[in-house]
Symmetry: C2
């Protein structure tokens, strides 16, 4: 069987663009080519360390690095093309939702000043079309958090100082910036990590601080985020790769050991995080004959909401069903849709009807 | 690539036998052919139901079935060949350990009376070369529990009444026999299931009771055994298939729902069962640079102990190292060996040295 061509051609309205389904021509997965040939580079994978101190020692040695909050949302890259801001997902799809929202979130000026700017945002909150779970400090809707700038037609990030100057000049909201650290001053990060555990934030991204450094970014996530991921993933037990669960168990155990967290409390949280949603999914299946998650999000236009539904049905995982689309008192279009955990529904259907498994 | 031939030729002492590595010639995996051509049929896979009542309704309808304890040990088939009892593992290997022990566990008479008898035993206890965990009612060494009789050169089990008569006549120890049930009398099984949960027994095997029934066996395991499996498996998180863990989470959640067990207590037990052994494995690795489990078992002869070590090194999973072999005050040879969780050791070595993962 020939593998599919790594570059796929797609349309959004009158825009025809290409998306890198896989690494090709030296560009990573998620890279996008616009009609004028401009390349929006894919956002690279970031290595995860599971032991913060040892990871810093091994990767940065004594070199300084910036630490920023890793926000639990979804990653998009924003460019300005023919007078409009466009947002592309990590996979390289034009996102109708983010494209609809981004023009009120981010001013056009930085793109006028830097026409080849690619602004990287994490979009997070309780109401997004992709994330089932958001940071606890966001109580409604969704918000953007800028965390990197890249440029068209080349790989690599803007230096931190230049990026910080840009976002400050234009008042662009960013992830929390925690400052500059090195192996020698890592202890100053520990109280912040403890606060992140308490606030159930996702974790840190560590970015090299020396100009021209060839070092790569690293990420480290909290024990709290491992447990939250397990809770969110549990109803998708049969739909997600089983390693989703084992990887997070390992992260959790290593974070507990290194951070010296309360093991009894975390064991209880872990057990509840797994069993609560699983027994709830079983009860839900008994009522409705399927397991599904309900998503809500708000858009400025009805057209964008309909485009989003088409996008999710065509490219998303699991069966997606629209539940509601109405104009709210805030003047926004409120979309409510369900995504079915298809394998979980299938397996529960088989087992609760008395079916057997051979394992 | 050509798949390996499904039938492998092996030696034990002067016995040359063949082992079915896979289904072939109509016989299941684990089938053995002895030098005179006699076939020891492989023990078939048993379907697992995760909803006891629905499973019974679907598979047995109104037909009666016997219920027996499922003991948590390892499965061997015993035959008498040239005046000696030989024991073969589920995979079809001659087991030097069980062959050494079985002549004091099981009398020869039933095999004299039935020369083509294949006696199926579960061997369980805190000291076996294969199981890391045994039933809580066994405090030392290992014990056999007969649960089926088959015969040479054909598939299928002896009818229950005939099997029960055989083991009773010769005083052969068996798994707990719980009696005859049907869908209409299933409620009588529920207090026994509750007792099995309390005693942390593994579960039940359900066997059709009508003569000539074409129905297959079924198994159902307790919530307690799902948690115990997770505890025992946790240090092997990276060595076992990730589905080992997700399958048991699903079993646990379904058993909790059907049996109406205390969710808070089981959530706490689950969290501790996963995190306790994982953090212990990390601490062990920090001390010894590897994660390993120590096994102990007792044999009548030193020769059998050495044969067992050779068998485990050649055919077992993970690196095996002998730690001790000495004659105890009970006159038995005591073997102590370690099996390394090789992937877990490798991954912890990488991560605790600050290595990154891309996930």
């Amino acid at each position: 069987m020939t593998p599919p061509h790594p570059i796929e051609s797609l349309n959004w309205r009158r825009l025809r663009y290409e998306r890198w389904q896989d690494e090709s021509e030296g560009w990573p997965r998620g890279t996008v080519r616009l009609p004028d040939g401009a390349i929006v580079p894919g956002y690279p994978s970031i290595g995860r360390i599971l032991d913060l101190r040892a990871g810093v020692r091994t990767h940065f040695g004594d070199a300084p690095f910036w630490v920023e909050e890793k926000v639990d949302g979804y990653n998009v890259r924003v460019v300005r093309w023919r007078k409009q801001l466009l947002a592309f997902t990590r996979g390289g799809f034009l996102c109708p939702y983010t494209t609809d929202r981004v023009r009120r979130w981010i001013p056009a000026q930085p793109f006028l000043e830097h026409p080849d700017l690619v602004l990287c945002l994490e979009v997070a909150g309780p109401e997004t079309p992709y994330a089932e779970h958001g940071p606890s400090y966001l109580k409604e809707d969704a918000r953007p958090f800028a965390f990197d700038a890249m440029q068209l037609n080349r790989q690599g990030f803007w230096p931190r100082e230049r990026f910080y100057a840009l976002v400050d000049r234009y008042g662009i909201p960013t992830v929390e910036r925690l400052g500059r650290f090195s192996l020698g001053t890592l202890d100053r990060l520990l109280p912040i990590l403890a606060r992140y555990e308490e606030e159930r934030r996702e974790g840190f991204v560590l970015k090299p601080a020396l100009p021209g450094s060839q070092k790569r970014y690293l990420k480290y996530t909290t024990a709290a985020s491992a447990i939250d991921d397990l809770r969110v993933g549990a109803p998708w037990l049969a739909d997600l790769p089983a390693e989703y669960f084992t990887n997070r168990l390992l992260r959790l155990a290593l974070a507990l050991c290194e951070e010296g967290l309360d093991r009894k409390r975390h064991a209880e949280d872990l057990g509840k995080a797994l069993l609560g949603p699983l027994t709830q999914a079983i009860a839900e299946f008994a009522q409705t004959r399927h397991v599904a998650h309900t998503y809500r999000c708000r858009l400025h236009t009805k057209t964008a909401a309909l485009e989003l539904m088409r996008h999710l049905k065509r490219h998303g995982k699991g069966r997606v069903r629209r539940r509601k689309l109405f104009r709210g008192e805030d003047g926004m279009w409120h979309l409510v849709f369900e995504r079915e955990a298809a394998s979980m529904s299938g397996i529960l259907g088989h087992l609760l009807a008395g079916g057997a498994m051979f394992d």
